[in-house]
Symmetry: C2
Subunit: 224 residues, 2 copies
Amino acid sequence: MDPVKVIEIKKSVFEDNDADARRLRKELKQKGVYLLNLMSSPGSGKTTTLIGILNLLKEKLRIAVMEADIDSDVDAVKIKEATGIPSIQLHTGGMCHLDAEMTRQGLSGVETEGLDLVVLENVGNLVCPAEFDTGAVKNAMILSIPEGHDKPLKYPLMFSVCDVVVINKIDVLPYFDFDMEKCKEYVHMRNPKAQVIPICAKTGEGVEAFAQWILEEVNNWKHN
Amino acid sequence: MDPVKVIEIKKSVFEDNDADARRLRKELKQKGVYLLNLMSSPGSGKTTTLIGILNLLKEKLRIAVMEADIDSDVDAVKIKEATGIPSIQLHTGGMCHLDAEMTRQGLSGVETEGLDLVVLENVGNLVCPAEFDTGAVKNAMILSIPEGHDKPLKYPLMFSVCDVVVINKIDVLPYFDFDMEKCKEYVHMRNPKAQVIPICAKTGEGVEAFAQWILEEVNNWKHN
């Protein structure tokens, strides 16, 4: 007995993922549903960050969450329990990323009617998810302090495709050799327009700034 | 002017990677070169751990290192500077893993004559590298404390294919909710025979145990 819905999604049959992603984006625009694609390494704190944001936004927006994972449903259960927000689990069957068709399969399990925002928590991976447009309006990523400030040098595409880079676990800054200014410089080498938001999901520090970014994004998109 | 050799490796043309990996393993056995495939998430401390091990083993074994990365050559330069051990950089051209043919292409840039051990530092990724046999004798992985003890639940294949799981950054255990006993239990759910070695690459704690594991591995393999 699963407390959350689990969908086994299949690899896309579409040759042209970019075209398919544009189609999905258009369909979602017509429904007024903003899709945010959240990416990161394993263990950077995506789920904890998401819980913080959802609790700040749930009175202002109607939200649903799709948790993509190779296996397990721990994240979807955690989100649902901690926020009360509808959350489903997508199993990728070993696939290391989601493409637009896989995202569409996931959305078929969500009651999108009347929703403002769907957050897709992508598979924990800094490589493959960056290569596949999911159909999201914007991409966000989380880099955590223990991973090191050099990551934009090593995973250039991920940092190029993200509009906002959230830097999590700033509470442990004293224990790691992480240079925040260098990190910002490297992020901006990859994407000069990327916003960088330092946070600590555990204590809640800075989480409001990320929630505010999302809220403004959704509102601007709805009225454009 | 690059201080280290950089090889741009291409996607494999072989349909059957498993057969190709077996072939490569056999070729290396004939040469007496033990290939160790080291995997982990981005930022778990693969390179720092490797530097510690190499400095402990370099008087006992003749070693070379291949650093695989999407881009940049920071790791190969760091290894060479910190250990004096021959180190080359493999650029995967966006590919998220190495297969056996890519590994063979990398090895073509290494002077394997007379070597005992080649360490392949795979692309930082807990998903795809687990799916492709590189031709290595054994797989090792590093999980770091900040990533969380639940990772074997979420990335089952990676933990199934690894013979040793090194748990790095134990110096920051007090600052994270990481349950070492749970982690070991989850690792052994995936692979009951996996050795778990807690270390701190930064301070050197426990690194000798990992070096010892490698030394025994290489020696046993040479004499069997």
